[in-house]
């Protein structure tokens, strides 16, 4: 029953694509749902743009008219102060009107609520919907029912693309070209959208990614001590046997938050055991390369997945990640909502002769 004709632009073999084409802002991109369909060139453009945005966030007057008259709604079905605030700030610095909507998933009739909420918002002219939802795929569903641009601020266990962009931005600003660098991600992979998105993001930029976590927190079909094939969608990902193996000679060590729910669901005997066996502390950090970065998407459980010493130590760039969040989200919102963003008159390499 499989239809042998491929959908437009899709590759039926399921290979992961490390597409190195340098197209810049080619087709008007309407949504940012995940990083998997951004080319390396597009990612680099967003990161370049974020540099410009970062400078603006450092000014006394943090306001530009770029998205003036645009309406951005943050639609969060999960609590998250920091992510929501950074999106709100990003939109406001760009001059947009930002409205925050908090919604609940435990409403009267399940799906009706989400669909009706989106349709109601659709009736008011909005330009962008920044969505965080506990169900994987929710932003994809929403994008099918609205004309607004949808930005995925985290969907279930699936993806958190803006987090990965700011992680890439942070690494790039500290280390430069990521090709061939070793990234170690330690923590819950099965349930973590940050892990999934970061793996894809760093692999796309040419880095070698290794993960380490309890066997209960990776999919059953993955085996510790192996390297994944392309058919998994994460081709090249190394699964370390233990955390020491993962961080050894790493250029970046990313510690992920481990949640109490994992212990409650029986995946871990205790958070203390997790900390003993996988916690990133000074001794483990010492196995990484000199000058290796220590990262964490936040909020941190100090003493569990990361010791206080390294969390606030010299190698930690956690605060930088937080600062970069607004700039990266500004770049994303601008890329999606700025009018006529896609057309290039006169080309970008040759001169701006027709601009001034």
């Amino acid at each position: 029953m499989t239809n042998p004709t491929t959908a437009a632009g899709n590759n039926p073999a399921g290979e992961s694509s490390n597409d190195a084409s340098e197209e810049m802002f080619v087709a008007p991109r309407q949504h940012l749902l995940d990083l998997d369909d951004l080319s390396v060139g597009e990612i680099n453009d967003l990161l370049d743009s974020a540099e410009g945005m970062l400078e603006i966030t450092g000014r006394d007057i943090r306001k530009t008219p770029a998205l003036r008259g645009k309406t951005i709604i943050t639609l969060f079905f999960e609590n998250s102060t920091r992510t929501r605030v950074s999106f709100e700030q990003a939109g406001k610095i760009l001059g947009a009107d930002v409205i925050n909507v908090t919604a609940s998933t435990s409403s009267v009739s399940k799906g009706e609520s989400l669909l009706n909420t989106v349709k109601t918002l659709q009736a008011m002219k909005i330009d962008a919907l920044v969505v965080r939802h506990p169900h994987s795929g929710a932003p994809y569903f929403i994008s099918n029912h609205t004309d607004a641009s949808v930005v995925n601020a985290g969907d279930g266990m699936h993806a958190h693309p803006t987090q990965s962009l700011l992680d890439l931005f942070t690494v790039r600003n500290n280390i430069g070209d990521m090709a061939g660098k070793k990234i170690a991600i330690v923590g819950d992979v099965l349930y973590s959208r940050v892990a999934r998105s970061d793996i894809l993001a760093f692999q796309k930029m040419g880095a070698e990614v290794t993960i380490s976590c309890p066997n209960t927190l990776i999919p059953d079909e993955w085996t510790l001590g192996s390297t994944l094939g392309d058919e998994t969608g994460f081709g090249g990902l190394k699964l370390a046997r233990n955390v020491e193996e993962a961080v050894d000679s790493a250029d970046v060590v990313m510690a992920l938050r481990i949640q109490q729910e994992r212990q409650d669901a029986g995946h871990l005997p205790s958070l203390r055991e997790y900390s003993d066996r996988w916690g990133i502390n000074a001794k483990r950090m010492a196995l990484a390369n000199d000058g290796a970065l220590l990262m964490h998407p936040g909020p941190m459980n100090e003493g569990v997945e990361i010791s206080s010493e390294v969390a606030h130590g010299a190698q930690s760039v956690v605060e930088e990640q937080v600062r970069n969040a607004v700039a990266v989200r500004m770049a994303v919102l601008y890329a999606l909502c700025a009018p006529g963003k896609s057309s290039r008159i006169g080309g970008s390499e040759s001169n701006s002769g027709n601009e001034a």
Partner: protein, 453 residues
């Protein structure tokens, strides 16, 4: 109404119960089969209405052991009227109504009411299935003797598994003297742990919680062992994994009285359909992914499991095909994957979808028809599913070359939750006759082409 005389001539008549596979005529009168002739004259005898079936296949009407009519209780999804119409369109002349209605069919009162209304309003034959436990809550046995008297053909708590092994053992044991099968939805929900699709590469990429195959195989193994212990009849619904088949084979070889069914979707769709591209695996996930029309229980499995169940039904290890027709309204499907209800709308696409396997050489057309007619009839121990003289004239005419594109908006079913929308299929039921009367004719549908409902 039953006085009609009908001759269906010149078709390839396939009646596995009688070992018939030849060009012949089928003669019907008074609602019963009179004869399957030795050859064809190409014309009808005097006084007979004539259906010219040359180039077509003529088979007994299909028999479904697993249908969710949603009536009583959820009539916005389907009713006895719309469900039996959908069945007729799909070539089914007998369906078996699962008891997970509201109220549950766990008492004679409810079953009798469903039977009365089916006889009055249903377009084709509806057989009742009784609940295993009261309210399907899995705590206390339902009054199985009383239900047997009302005519149930078996007992099931579908879509809940009987999680208490002791209750399952008692149900099997109690059913022995009634001679009716226990049909347990085999799913260990603890192993499944909240998964919404099959565990595997697709689930990992999409970030959806996965149900491992072992959630089914573990309980199938338990049920087979209990059936052996109690010497009862066990019928395994919607079997879907290679692991379950291993246990099934061993059990059959050692004499356990077990039969098994597989659904059309588990024979033809894999977990890759959740990407929303009709089974194509994309390099990047797009907005068509998380297609809730693929959400079903048991979930669509890996391609390896699909191949295994195809081989098993072809070989006969899996006895029959049953639809598990599960209509759902838009509110239960137009939502996130996690929120969506489990179930696929099957009756009107069942035959055509599995017919693709015949073209692909995976199963013979005779075996296919057997799995839809004499196979189920044998499990039911009823005189249906065959063109034997004196049997109810339930006949289906199939055009094996007809190409059509599935359009759920045109379904007779009240619901449209099929993942096959837009898929082109080859092979189609063109006429369905029940008790000698035509209950579906494709040429009428094509002529009127009106919007349903």
């Amino acid at each position: 109404m039953a006085a009609r005389k009908l001759a269906i001539t010149g078709g390839r008549v396939i009646d596995p119960a009688q070992g018939i596979d030849r060009i012949a005529d089928v003669l019907i009168s008074n609602g019963k089969i009179d004869e399957v002739t030795a050859g064809t004259t190409g014309s009808a005898p005097d006084g007979y209405e004539h259906i010219d079936a040359s180039g077509k296949i003529v088979s007994p009407g299909f028999v479904d052991l697993h249908t969710h009519l949603r009536d009583p209780g959820q009539e916005w999804k389907e009713t006895i009227v719309t469900g039996t119409r959908a069945a007729a369109f799909g070539g089914f002349t007998t369906i078996s109504a699962m008891p997970n209605t509201d109220p549950v069919q766990d008492s004679a009162a409810v079953v009798d009411d469903v039977m009365r209304r089916s006889a009055a309003d249903g377009l084709i034959r509806v057989l009742p299935i009784g609940a295993i436990s009261i309210g399907q809550k899995g705590k206390q046995l339902a009054p199985m003797g009383e239900l047997a008297n009302s005519g149930v053909i078996g007992f099931s708590d579908d879509g809940n598994p009987v999680t208490d092994a002791n209750l399952m053992r008692q149900a099997l044991s109690y059913s022995v003297e009634l001679g009716l099968p226990i049909i347990n939805h085999a799913e260990d929900k603890k192993i499944g742990a909240g998964g919404v699709m099959s565990a595997g590469t697709v689930a990992t990429r999409l970030g959806l919680a996965g149900v491992p195959a072992e959630a089914e195989t573990a309980m199938v193994a338990r049920d087979l062992n209990l059936a052996a212990l109690t010497k009862a009849r066990l019928h395994i619904p919607h079997i879907s994994t290679a692991g379950s088949l291993i246990a099934l084979r061993t059990a059959k070889e050692s004499g356990v009285d077990v039969t098994a069914e597989v659904t059309p979707h588990h024979l033809t769709l894999s977990d890759e359909w959740v990407y929303g591209l009709k089974g194509v695996v994309p390099t990047t996930v797009g907005p068509e992914a998380y297609d809730t029309n693929t959400k079903v229980n048991p979930p669509l499995r890996s391609r390896a499991d699909v191949e295994a169940v195809i081989d098993a039904v072809s070989e006969g290890l899996i006895d029959i095909i049953a639809t598990d027709h599960a209509p759902h309204a838009a509110t239960d499907k137009v939502c996130t994957y996690n929120e969506a209800a489990h179930g696929i709308n099957v009756l009107e696409t069942a035959f055509s979808s599995v017919f693709q396997l015949v073209d692909a050489g995976k199963i013979s057309v005779v075996r296919l028809i057997e799995s839809l007619t004499s196979g189920p009839a044998t499990i039911l121990r009823k005189d249906i599913g065959s063109l034997k003289k004196g049997f109810s004239a339930d006949v289906v005419v199939i055009d094996p070359g007809s190409k059509w594109i599935v359009n759920p908006e045109q379904f007779e079913s009240k619901s449209v939750n099929s993942p096959l929308a837009g898929v082109e299929l080859t092979g189609r039921v063109v006429t369905t006759i029940y008790q000698g009367e035509t209950v579906f004719d494709l040429s009428d549908v094509v002529a009127s082409a009106g919007a349903k409902q």
